[in-house]
Amino acid sequence: MNSTDKYDNDILKQYLNAESAEKAPEDFTCNVMTKIQPELEPLKVNGKLHTVKILPAIAAIFILTLIIIAVNIPGNDRESLSLINMLQNVDFSDLNTSFKALLNLDLPGLLTYLCVGILFLGIFDVALNGLFHRERR
């Protein structure tokens, strides 16, 4: 403390000193640490959720890959077209021909890929659900 700040012959010092200072209750530290614990829980859950978020991303990439494959690869029928080819062949001036081209699309082949994709998506969903509930517990 600066000497200029001090009061000479300060009577209050006789009353307000370390001896008259109040002490915290004995279980104070324990109580504070107990109060801190709930603050840590959301941090832990957030941290784990961050890692869990990688799995849906992988699933999304996988599904996207399947869709791209389904769109680009034509079915077994030689006359069938891939979706990309069909879109490239669309002639907006002749809508009747465009409609015929749409009929040439090999839908059963595309549906197979989609079904496999939906199946994988379902498996991932079940796995994520189980993982999420385990973290919560």
């Binding site: 403390m1 600066n2 700040d5 009061y7 009577i11 209050l12 010092k13 009353y15 307000l16 000193n17 370390a18 001896e19 008259s20 200072a21 109040e22 002490k23 915290a24 209750p25 104070f28 530290t29 109580n31 504070v32 640490m33 109060k35 801190i36 603050e39 840590l40």
Partner: protein, 193 residues
């Protein structure tokens, strides 16, 4: 634990060792409780405020600059938490502790024969502190109990140095008047009986 010890603890807490925070709590708990008690004038409220201050400090630990003094940073939290608590309490109701009698007789407080001079003094200090406002109580506590300079108090409270000096002077005058009156009464009482 010195300043370096505080910093070491903080680094450990930020590194994930939350248990290290208990060392900081142990070190500062009495001083924190005393400051909160002097401002709130109530043990239960002081405990709540002190715990709240530690919780706030824990949450804000990431924002603490390692070059700074932890004690000053922490006392700012304790002071602000206590003042906010009192102001919120005042909005709701007026505590009977806020209205001490002008003619309070400290022989009543010190009624029991076993009660020591120390207890009498503590009662007198509490009474005198209740006669000043919460900001002045905080300043008096930081000045006398924590032995802080006006510059350090200014850092803790955000009040200018010159204003602190004025407030401290007024608060001291009020408290001294109360204490001296009480001492005179006590002296008369001993002379009579």
């Amino acid at each position: 634990m010195d300043h370096d010890g505080d910093i070491k603890c903080i680094e450990q807490v930020l590194g994930g060792k939350v248990e290290a925070f208990s060392r900081l709590v142990d070190k500062y708990k009495d001083r924190t409780f005393n400051l909160a008690f002097r401002i709130c004038s109530n043990r239960e409220e002081a405990e709540e405020v002190a715990q709240d201050a530690f919780l706030k400090a824990f949450k804000s630990l990431k924002g603490f600059e390692m070059k700074s003094n932890f004690a000053t940073w922490f006392y700012r939290i304790v002071y602000n938490t206590s003042i906010s608590y009192i102001r919120n309490r005042k909005k709701g109701m007026i505590s009977i502790e806020d209205l001490p009698s002008e003619n309070a007789d400290f022989r009543r407080i010190n009624l029991s024969e076993e009660e020591s001079e120390k207890d009498y003094r503590n009662a007198l200090i509490n009474f005198a502190l209740q006669k000043i406002n919460e900001v002045e109580r905080g300043l008096i506590s930081l000045y006398y109990y924590e032995e802080m300079s006006t510059e350090e108090i200014s850092e803790c409270t955000g009040i200018s140095k010159s204003n602190i000096k004025v407030k401290l002077f007024r608060a001291r005058q009020k408290m001294l008047e109360i204490i001296q009156n009480a001492e005179k009464k006590k002296l008369k009482y001993h002379e009579q009986y």
